[in-house]
Symmetry: C2
Subunit: 204 residues, 2 copies
Amino acid sequence: MADTQRGYHHGALKAALIDATLILLKEGGIEAVSVREAAKRAGVSPGAPFRHFPSRAALLNAVAEEAMVRLTMQIDQALTQAASLSPLERYRALGQAFLIWAFENPHHFQVISTRAVIDFEGSGLRAANDKIRCQMRQLLNDAVSSGELVGISVEDALLSTRALAYGLARMNIDGQLQSWDIKSGDYLGLAQHLINEQIDRLKR
Amino acid sequence: MADTQRGYHHGALKAALIDATLILLKEGGIEAVSVREAAKRAGVSPGAPFRHFPSRAALLNAVAEEAMVRLTMQIDQALTQAASLSPLERYRALGQAFLIWAFENPHHFQVISTRAVIDFEGSGLRAANDKIRCQMRQLLNDAVSSGELVGISVEDALLSTRALAYGLARMNIDGQLQSWDIKSGDYLGLAQHLINEQIDRLKR
DNA sequence: ACCTGAACACCGTTCAAGT
DNA sequence: ACCTGAACACCGTTCAAGT
């Protein structure tokens, strides 16, 4: 974008590299991302990216942080819309927001979820992730306090919801949903339905 | 193993390469696997592996097929032991067997689950995977027939069990379980507990 | 039939030198 | 301050030539 690369200096190379990385990601998944190719797409020499990112992992990290921002926005927006609902219904809204984000931005989800390729600790990733977990826990605790949920372990419910949502999203990007559901092709709808059922089952 | 590489010809290069690949996998995950390094470890030139495997993906495929054999064995053994139990209890035994395999052989699980790196179609992988799904479906159908389960969708139950187990196993290899459960460190035990709870919930 | 070793087109990363 | 371009040590893969 806007890379009117008119001279020796690029001007907005950092952003251009992140854009190019996202394009490579969409073209061929995470292993198709190379610093050299991103540099070429940005019209710059192979060494240039290393002025802005210390490593390939750091470049992918930047994409991951962008992805996390979008996920956080999607969740915050869903929670705002659901503000008047009961705690468990807000929990449901949060789960649905995660699924929508993961299925509509599969490459972003792939980058965020594949540790080894990013530096999850440093940066804002860990903090943002923890914040989401805290929001989930808070909602479940509220649901217990209000009597909406009874006789459940909040930690167990939390992790099994998260693991189910994560599993569905991962099966989607790992090409495993394709072989399960021959019919509609509406994998997001199917995933949303299963999470809904699981949350319903928490109520007994 | 047994690679008394005494001359120009190796003798058991194919097996030696698969062994070396598994070691590389254990050392540094899937992206640490290189054909050249496997060749070096097997004491052979960089081009030699291509007499036995047409590509890096094919080499990883061979590891994946070995992994699938072990998974199938683990499941068959669990089902044999549970032969006298009710259909739903056999379903539970199958789920537990999957979790044990995935948590005790994380690198095997990683290779099998990461499409893009292997050729899941060709080979016996697809067939073995389909067989497991059929076994699961059969058990759930039997549980419905015998009245052990009522008022559930077999397809939904099937996929949500699978997605939960897959999600837990993936969170384990993606390093995401570490940040959730600070206590015991017994991630397999935790995963088994959550699957048990989910299966219990199917009974209402 | 199986393996070598050079070759090709790629990588990530570094670093002097240019602007 | 930012970028180039050559360099290094790696890749996957091919292929003539050796045994």
